[in-house]
């Protein structure tokens, strides 16, 4: 058996005018790619702008001339028929910058016998990641790509199984072609790649997206040849639906309704979107409802938006994920309150609402104890909030400060954060000569002037290590992993518990965390490597509502832990790096979806 690196492979480039992009594509293919056994086959669909003349003069290129525009599908099939080895379909508007891109894709394809097709990350001319796999929102069937349109910050950089990949750069094993044939010529362009991936999956193959990156100037042929993108797209969609609607009808094997505050950008909306994606991938037909906000609002998230447009069905198990006060919206035949408390008790009115549910879900064992201690008499189950390991992992880009140990703290300005304790501990412990900085990311409803005034009133000592407040910088949520990775230690100076699993997300990025045990309960079921979590002692003090308490970090211990974090920074980093895979295994959203499904099955 030949080794994966030695397998022959034909890179098939389809062109139809676009001399400049073709030149860049071919030049980079021949100049950058390092692979022991590959050939470049260019299939020309009747270019008239000098592309053919250029290609005839390029050494190392095998040219297939179709003489006319056969379209994307027939054009590529001509290339497939002209070769006998594995192939990589490549658009002429791609450019290659990583020497091992082909070797990596091929190696991934041969890590398992049942991997049939491998795509890769595609980054456009603006440096934005436009493709890392595809998915099909139902019922709109308007095919989408991960992640849509985000700056390339290292997300989706691990090799992972996906529903489909686009044919702008796709490695296809020859055995797949032998088994299911070439691309379906019922399509002229668009949807043929999704169709092909579905066929491969039905034949028992899996589709992967490789972490390697290729540049892709999208729709170059469409633009250069001034064709009507929409009309071709719509025609192909109709063909696709005629072939695959039945498959999607039978794809969903379980049903549920999910009510939440989904329209905004708050923690419930963010966590809901991640949970719903994971459930959708796992074959749960989710019917989406709103706990607040406009019911008819169109959501930016295509997949979630489609769930909103599915017909209502009150017979499904209904999850209400939101503040306990909103459980009154329950109108299903089996209602589940998925709730959270920032303090050590749910208040009486909240408990009354929870006791009207059929069962209660909470995010951790500590929350379960809180619910039971508050007088909840319904069955209480733990469903942790997950971590999106495509966005929180050690490969996310980092922008560290040179020569300074960076503490990062983030909170909403208010009594729920022990900002005073942290600032006093930090400025007491570190002098101007210490190469450290505390970056405090603050969100506040007002302009931020009250932050300046409050900090001034603290009369912090002069000439100490610097503290930088980053106020109301609305950084995109998908870059939060980058922010954590840019720090050496994440500090959680909170009195209130936070619903978001911030500690787990930082550890998933390989960044140590420092905080009270009170706020580390999101690490539910994960045993962190020793040294990656620096716990600060605390005492319970009166909370914001009568009868509730929350945690006050112990100032002197906070000081000691901050110093310890600097002194032991390297071991802590290594320990956090070893904790990251444990987080991924236990708290990835897909693992959380499996727990939800287990609960749904039990209810059924």
């Amino acid at each position: 058996m030949t080794t994966p690196a030695a397998r022959p492979v034909s890179v098939i480039v389809l062109t139809w005018n676009g001399l400049e992009v073709t030149r860049r594509c071919v030049d980079s293919l021949l100049g950058v790619t390092r692979h022991p056994d590959f050939e470049v086959v260019v299939v020309d669909n009747g270019s008239t702008d000098g592309t053919l003349e250029y290609l005839r003069g390029v050494e190392g290129v095998r040219l297939v001339e179709n003489g006319e525009n056969l379209g994307f599908v027939k054009g590529n099939n001509a290339g497939i028929r002209a070769t006998s080895s594995d192939i990589v379909l490549v658009n002429n508007d791609t450019e290659f910058v990583e020497a091992d891109w082909l070797s990596r894709m091929q190696a991934l394809a041969y890590t398992a016998e049942d991997i049939g097709i491998v795509g890769c990350r595609l980054v456009n001319a603006d440096g934005r990641l436009v493709h890392a796999g595809t998915y099909m929102p139902v019922p709109s069937f308007w095919g989408q790509e991960y992640p849509g349109d985000e700056a390339d910050v290292g997300q989706y950089s691990r090799d992972r199984e996906v529903d489909g990949v686009i044919a702008a750069c796709a490695y296809i094993k020859r055995e797949v072609i032998d088994r299911i044939g070439p691309l379906d010529e019922d399509y002229f362009s668009y949807y043929e790649d999704t169709d092909y991936c579905l066929k491969a999956r039905q034949a028992g193959y899996r589709v992967f997206c490789c972490g390697t990156t290729v540049w892709h100037l999208e729709n170059a042929s469409t633009d250069l040849n001034r064709m009507d993108f929409s009309a071709v797209f719509r025609r192909s969609r109709e063909v696709f639906l005629s072939k695959w609607r039945g498959y999607y009808d039978s794809f969903y094997t379980r049903r549920m309704t999910w009510h939440s505050c989904i329209s905004g950008t708050g923690p419930y909306a963010r966590a809901s979107a991640k949970a719903l994606w994971a459930l959708d991938r796992a074959g749960v037909d989710v019917n989406l409802g709103f706990l607040e906000g406009a019911e008819r609002a169109e959501l930016a998230d295509f997949r979630v938006n489609d769930m909103k447009n599915r017909p209502r069905d009150r017979d499904r198990p209904q999850v209400l994920f939101g503040p306990p006060g909103m459980l009154d919206h329950a109108d299903g035949s089996y209602n589940i309150g998925f709730v959270f408390s920032a303090c050590d008790r749910f208040v009486t009115a909240e408990v009354a609402g929870m006791n009207r549910m059929d069962e209660i879900w909470v995010t951790s064992d500590a929350q379960r104890e809180t619910a039971l201690a508050s007088g909840v008499d319904r069955p209480v189950f733990v469903i942790p909030l997950g971590v999106d390991t495509d966005y929180f992992n050690p490969s996310m880009k980092a922008f560290p400060l040179e020569g300074r140990f960076t503490f990062l703290a983030q909170f909403d300005w208010g009594p729920g954060a022990a900002a005073d304790t942290l600032l006093e501990a930090f400025t007491s412990e570190f002098g101007a000569d210490d190469k450290v900085v505390l970056v405090v990311r603050v969100d506040t409803d007002s302009t931020g002037a009250e932050v300046e005034e409050s900090v001034e009133a603290m009369a912090l000592p002069a000439g100490r290590a610097p503290v930088v407040f980053v106020i109301n910088h609305d950084t995109p949520a998908y870059q939060t992993g980058c922010l954590y990775r840019s720090a050496d230690c994440l500090v959680l100076p909170w009195r209130a518990r936070r619903m978001e699993p911030v500690a787990a997300e930082a550890l998933a990025c390989g960044v140590p965390v420092l905080g009270t045990g009170w706020v580390l309960d999101c690490l539910e079921g994960v045993e962190p490597e020793e040294g990656s979590v620096m716990e600060v002692g605390y005492s319970l003090v009166d909370g914001p509502l009568e009868g509730t308490r929350w945690a006050e970090p112990e100032p002197s211990e906070m000081r000691r832990r901050l110093r310890h974090a600097v002194d032991e920074s390297e071991p802590a980093r290594r320990a956090a790096g070893r904790t990251a895979p444990r987080i991924a295994a236990r708290l990835d959203w897909q693992a959380v979806a499996d727990r939800i499904i287990a609960r749904l099955d039990a209810i059924a």
Partner: protein, 160 residues
């Protein structure tokens, strides 16, 4: 749909600059007083809210009060000292209070003027944005017609 906001890379660049040269709104005040300022920096989003933050701070601080609470740190004689201060205050009230009143009035007018300027600025920005949109619509019209009327080789498609 791309998420709006400030990229983390940009935030960290700002932090880097702030660590190298910290600056707060109160720096000038501290320099005048003699002691070194706390090593603090407050960063706000670009194009942003700095004007609003300054206005907010001005609004919070324009109202000065000559009748602040009197006290003393000296044990034993604190009561005596406070009584003395109260007496001095009473004796000087005829002189200080009119000045405080003038200062309050001036601060109030300046604050109100700054708020007016900021509101006018915002209204003007909105008007400019509206005009820019109108210009875009006008220029987009002919381009769309040109595109719709085109009948080049683009009836068929090669690659998406």
């Amino acid at each position: 749909m791309p998420e709006k906001g400030v990229d983390v890379e940009q935030v960290m660049e700002e932090v880097n600059r702030a660590v190298a040269a910290p600056h707060t709104l109160l720096d000038d005040f501290w320099k005048g007083e003699g002691p070194r300022p706390p090593n603090l920096a407050f960063l706000y989003p670009p194009c942003s809210k700095t004007l609003q933050v300054n206005l907010d701070l001005v609004s919070r601080n324009w109202e000065i009060d000559g009748e602040f609470e009197l006290g003393s740190q000296r044990r034993g004689v604190a009561g005596l000292i406070v009584t003395f201060k109260q007496t001095v205050r009473k004796l000087l009230r005829w002189y200080i209070n009119p000045i405080v009143h003038q200062e309050r009035k001036f601060n109030m007018l300046v604050t109100r003027t700054l708020c007016d300027i900021a509101n006018n600025l915002e209204a003007m920005e909105q008007r400019i944005a509206g005009l820019e949109r109108a210009i875009e619509d006008m220029t987009a019209g002919p381009r769309a017609e040109e595109r719709d009327g085109a009948d080049g080789p683009g009836r068929d498609v090669g690659a998406p």
